[in-house]
C-alpha cells in the first residue's frame, strides 16, 4: 500500500515534469504559498541556514487544530503530543529547552522544560511564522540548538479599519472556538486588538481500553477521561509607524485550563471516586491552568545605511497543577489540591544594529540580556526556586560577492549566572540511623557559565540550483532542574537527581541545503550532521532511592545526523503532487548508555500527496495525502518499540470574495480510516495511549 502511494506520486511527478507543456503563468506552489521559482531561489539565497517561511495563507488553509500541528507539514518539524490534545513543537527531534520559540523577536519564556506544558501563545494572533532548522545561537543565545520557531504578530495594518472573525471546530474532542481581530491605521498611528476563545471536550482514541502495568483501564466511548479544557486569549497593540521611526507596544494574555487524563496522572495509574464519566466537557482533578502575560515593546530607527532595533519585554508565567491529595511513600496526605505552582517572571532587553558597510557588506552587532525569577509552591516538588540572568554579545557579518555568491560569519559570547535556592521536604522521612528528617531535595547552587559560539555559511546559486552550507556551534545553559533536582518526580514516578557540576551543553552542526527548480518541479534536500560533546541526558540507572528508580543527569557524547527532502511537481494549473520525507539517527557515544539512541527518537516518515485546485465561485482546492511513519526499534529505557503506521488525510479550502469581504473556508480531515496507531514521540506513548482517531477540523473565516 505504502509503496504504491509513493510510486503513484512519483510517477505523476515524472509525467508532469517530462510530458507537460509549460504554461506562461506556471508557478510553484510551495506550502500553498504561490511563489515563482525565481522568488523561491531568492528566498533560498537569503540565509545559509535551512529556513522555511510560513505565510498567513498557509496558516489559514492548513489549520490542523493547534499551531504546532499545523506546522507539522514542514519536514523536520513535529508536534509532540503531551496529552489533553495539546502539543509542543520539536525541530529535528529536539524540543523542550533544545529549541527556541520566539514571538516578535523575543524568546518565549514559559516552563518549557516540562513534559506537559503547551505553547501558551494565541496561535490565531500569529500573522506568519518562520522555522529555522539548525543552530541559531548567534541571534537567540542559549537553547537554539535544534532550531527556532519564530512567530510574528506585529503586522502593521494598512487600512483605517480591517479585521476578521473566525469560527472553528474539530470533531475528535468536540472543540469549538472563536477568534476575532480588529486593526486599523490612522495616519502614522495604528492599533490592533484580538481575542480567541476555545472550548473542548475529552479527546477520543480508537480503543475501548488502555493497558498499562498490565492493568486494564476501560474507557467510556473511547474517551480519555478528563482531557477537556479551554483557552482564553486577548491581545492589544498600539504603535507608531513613521518613515524612519517605528515603535509599538503589545500586551497579550493567554490563559488555558486543561485536565490531565484521570487514570494516569503522570505515569501513575489512578482510580478515583470522582465520577469523570458524567460529563465529557467538564474539567475535574487532576488539571492544570496556565496564565501567560506578556508586555512587549519593539522600536526601530532607520537611518542612511544603518538600522537600530530594540526589544523590551516582561513575561509573567503562572502555572498551577491541582490534583487529589494522596499520601505516597513517606509523604502523608497533604492539605489541599495544589500540587505544584510555578510563577516565573522574565525581563528581556535586546538591542541590535545593522550597518551597511558598503553595497556588498552588512554588519550586525547586538546585545541580548535576560533576567528571570522562578518561585514554586505546592506539595509536589520538581524544580527549586531560582534566579537566572544572562547577557550575550554578538557580531554577524554578511558579504555579498555577487548575486549568486554570498558569505556570512558571526561570533557570540554569552555569560549566564544561575542561583538556586535549597529546598527541604515539608514532611519527614526515616533515615538509616533510626531517626527521621526533612530531606533536602535541592542544594544552594550558584553557577556562572560562559559560552562562545560561532557560525559561518555560504550560499551559491547557479542556473536552476541553489547550494547552501552552514556550520555553527550552539549551546544551552543547564536548567535548574538539571542542576538542582534531588527528589521523587511523582509526575513520572521516578527519583531524579540533578548534577550541580554540569557544564553548558554544546552542539556543533553542519547543514547543507540543495535546491533545484525549473518552475514545474521543485526539489529541496537538507542533510545535516550534529555532534554534542556533552549532551545533558537523564540516565535511568540500576539503583533505587526511596523506592523509585534513580534517574541521574549526566553528560554524554552524542552524534546525530539526518535529512529532510521534498519534491513538489506542478503538473498543470489544476494538479500538483508532493512527496516529502525525513530521516533522523541519534547515537550516544559515551557514558552508561553508549550505543543507545536518545529518548523519543523520531522514526523516519514520508508523506505523499496530491492537490487539485479549481475555480468555482472563487479559488478552491481539494487535497489528499498519505502519511507513512516507520517503526522505531531504537529505544532507551523505559521506552517500548513502536510499530510503523500510515494514515490517510484530506484537506480542502475555498475562498469567496463578496465585495470587500473575503470568506475563507478550510477543512482538514486526519486519520480518515480511523486507524489505531502509536506515535513514538508522544509523551503518552509511555502509558500506551494510542493517537487520536478520525478528526475533522473546520474553520470559517470572514475578512473585512
Amino acid at each position: 500500500m505504502t509503496t504504491s502511494i509513493i510510486a503513484t506520486a512519483l510517477a505523476a511527478c515524472v509525467a508532469g515534469s517530462n510530458g507537460y507543456v509549460a504554461h506562461d503563468d506556471s508557478v510553484i506552489v510551495l506550502n500553498d504559498v504561490t511563489v515563482s521559482g525565481q522568488r523561491q531561489r531568492e528566498f533560498q539565497m537569503r540565509s545559509s541556514q535551512s529556513t522555511v517561511q510560513v505565510s498567513h495563507d498557509y496558516l489559514q488553509q492548513n489549520f490542523a487544530g493547534s499551531l504546532s500541528q499545523t506546522l507539522e507539514g514542514i519536514p523536520g518539524v513535529k508536534a509532540m503530543s503531551i496529552g489533553s490534545g495539546q502539543s509542543k513543537p520539536t525541530i529535528r527531534g529536539l524540543g523542550f529547552n533544545r529549541m527556541v520559540v520566539s514571538e516578535d523577536g523575543v524568546k518565549h519564556e514559559g516552563q518549557q522544560w516540562g513534559d506537559d506544558h503547551g505553547l501558551e501563545i494565541d496561535q490565531f494572533a500569529v500573522d506568519r511564522a518562520e522555522v529555522i532548522k539548525g543552530p541559531a545561537a548567534l541571534q537567540y543565545g542559549s537553547d537554539a540548538i535544534g532550531g527556532v520557531l519564530s512567530l510574528y504578530t506585529n503586522h502593521v495594518p494598512t487600512e483605517p479599519m480591517s479585521g476578521s472573525v473566525q469560527v472553528f471546530g474539530r470533531t475528535n474532542n468536540e472543540q469549538v472556538g472563536l477568534s476575532a481581530k480588529l486593526g486599523g491605521r490612522l495616519g502614522k498611528w495604528f492599533y490592533r486588538i484580538s481575542t480567541t476563545l476555545i472550548d473542548y471536550a475529552d479527546y477520543r482514541v480508537p480503543t475501548d481500553s488502555i493497558q498499562y502495568y498490565s492493568y486494564w483501564i476501560r474507557l467510556k466511548d473511547g474517551r480519555l477521561r478528563n482531557t477537556a479544557g479551554c483557552e482564553r486569549d486577548g491581545n492589544v497593540m498600539i504603535g507608531y509607524a513613521g518613515y524612519r521611526f517605528h515603535t509599538d507596544v503589545r500586551i497579550s494574555n493567554s490563559y488555558s485550563k486543561s485536565g490531565f487524563f484521570a487514570n494516569a496522572h503522570g505515569l501513575e495509574v489512578r482510580l478515583s471516586d470522582i465520577d469523570y464519566d458524567h460529563s465529557r466537557r467538564d474539567v475535574d482533578l487532576p488539571y492544570q491552568w496556565v496564565n501567560h502575560l506578556k508586555v512587549l515593546s519593539h522600536t526601530s530607527w532607520q537611518g542612511n545605511g544603518v538600522r537600530i532595533d530594540a526589544n523590551l519585554a516582561w513575561q509573567n508565567n503562572h502555572r498551577e497543577e491541582l490534583s487529589e491529595p494522596i499520601s505516597h511513600g513517606y509523604m502523608p496526605t497533604p492539605d489541599g489540591t495544589l500540587e505544584r505552582r510555578f510563577v516565573k517572571n522574565t525581563l528581556t532587553a535586546n538591542i541590535a544594529t545593522h550597518i551597511d558597510m558598503s553595497e556588498h557588506h552588512e554588519l550586525s552587532v547586538g546585545l541580548n540580556s535576560e533576567y528571570q525569577r522562578n518561585r514554586r509552591s505546592g506539595w509536589g516538588f520538581i524544580i527549586p526556586d531560582f534566579k537566572a540572568s544572562s547577557v550575550g554579545l554578538f557580531a554577524m557579518d554578511k558579504y555579498t560577492i555577487s548575486e549568486s555568491l554570498k558569505l556570512n560569519a558571526g561570533v557570540r559570547v554569552d555569560h549566564a549566572n544561575t542561583i538556586i535556592n535549597s529546598y527541604n521536604d515539608w514532611y519527614k522521612t526515616p533515615t538509616t540511623d533510626g531517626d527521621s528528617a526533612y530531606m533536602k531535595r535541592s542544594d544552594d547552587v550558584n553557577r556562572h557559565f560562559t559560552s562562545v559560539t560561532w557560525s559561518a555559511g555560504i550560499n551559491y546559486a547557479t542556473g536552476h540550483w541553489v547550494l547552501k552550507a552552514n556550520i555553527g556551534k550552539s549551546f544551552r545553559t543547564p536548567i535548574p532542574k538539571e542542576l538542582g533536582a534531588d527528589g521523587v518526580n511523582y509526575h513520572i514516578f521516578r527519583y531524579e537527581r540533578g548534577n550541580a557540576d554540569l557544564n553548558p551543553e554544546e552542539s556543533y552542526q553542519m547543514d547543507m541545503g540543495i535546491h533545484w527548480d525549473n518552475d514545474k518541479v521543485f526539489v529541496q534536500v537538507d542533510p545535516y550532521v550534529n555532534y554534542f560533546p556533552n549532551y545533558i541526558y537523564l540516565n535511568p540507572t540500576a539503583q533505587y532511592v526511596e523506592g523509585l528508580q534513580l534517574y541521574h543527569y549526566t553528560q554524554a557524547r552524542v552524534l546525530r545526523y539526518g535529512v529532510e527532502a521534498q519534491v513538489t511537481c506542478v503538473i498543470n494549473s489544476h494538479w500538483e503532487t508532493e512527496l516529502k520525507g525525513e530521516y533522523l539517527h541519534a547515537r550516544q557515544q559515551s557514558g552508561q548508555k553508549k550505543g543507545y539512541t536518545l529518548p523519543f527518537s523520531t522514526p523516519w516518515s514520508m508523506e505523499a500527496g496530491a492537490k487539485y485546485s479549481f475555480k468555482w465561485h472563487g479559488n478552491s482546492f481539494v487535497g489528499m495525502n498519505a502519511h507513512i511513519v516507520g517503526a522505531q526499534h531504537e529505544i532507551v529505557p523505559p521506552e517500548s518499540p513502536t510499530d510503523g503506521h500510515w494514515t490517510l488525510n484530506l484537506s480542502a479550502g475555498k475562498q469567496i470574495s463578496l465585495h470587500s469581504y473575503k470568506l475563507n473556508i478550510a477543512m482538514h480531515a486526519e486519520n480518515l480510516l480511523n486507524r489505531r496507531y502509536y506515535d513514538h514521540t508522544s509523551y503518552y506513548r509511555l502509558i500506551d495511549v494510542p493517537e487520536p482517531g478520525r478528526n475533522v477540523s473546520i474553520k470559517v473565516g470572514l475578512d473585512f
Binding site: Y215, V269, L271, S327, P527, A542, G547, Q549, A565, Y583
Partner: protein, 155 residues
Amino acid sequence: MMALITASTLSILSCGDSDCDESKDMQKPAISEQGIVANPIDCQVYHRGESILFHYLLTDDIELGSYNIEIHNNFDHHTHSTTAIDCELDAKKTPQHPWVFNRDYNIPDGLRSYEATLEIAIPTDIDTGDYHFMIRLTDKAGWQQIHSVAIKIAE
C-alpha cells in the same frame, strides 16, 4: 537521491565506529516464579506479628541491577495492580496508622539470575486491611520490571 546517499554513507560510517555490533541490553529483567514456590502471591492473608517470607526468582539476559520492596495500604482501593486477579477487598476506610515499608536491596554484581529471599516482619501496631506488596527490579542498563501483589493483613 542525495538524501539516500548522504544517509547511507553516514550509517556506514557510524557502523565503522563499532556501534552496530555492540551488544546493548534491550530487554527488561523478569520477576519470576519459575522453579520456586514464590511468595507472597495475590490474595494471601497475613496476621500482625507474623513475617512475610519473600521469595522470587529475579533474572535478566545481561546483568541484574537492584530491587526494591515497598508495601503500602490500599484502603482507598487505588490500584497499581499488575495481575488480572481481583481479590476481595474490605470496605474503604481512612488510614490511622498504616504500614509503610520501603527498602532498596542490592544484587551482587555480574548476575543474570538471583533468588531473592527476605523475611519481612509485620509490625503489631499497624492498621489491618488491604495492602499492596510491590516488587520493583532493575537491570544494569536501567530497564525496570514491576510486579504488584495484593495481600491482606488481619488481626
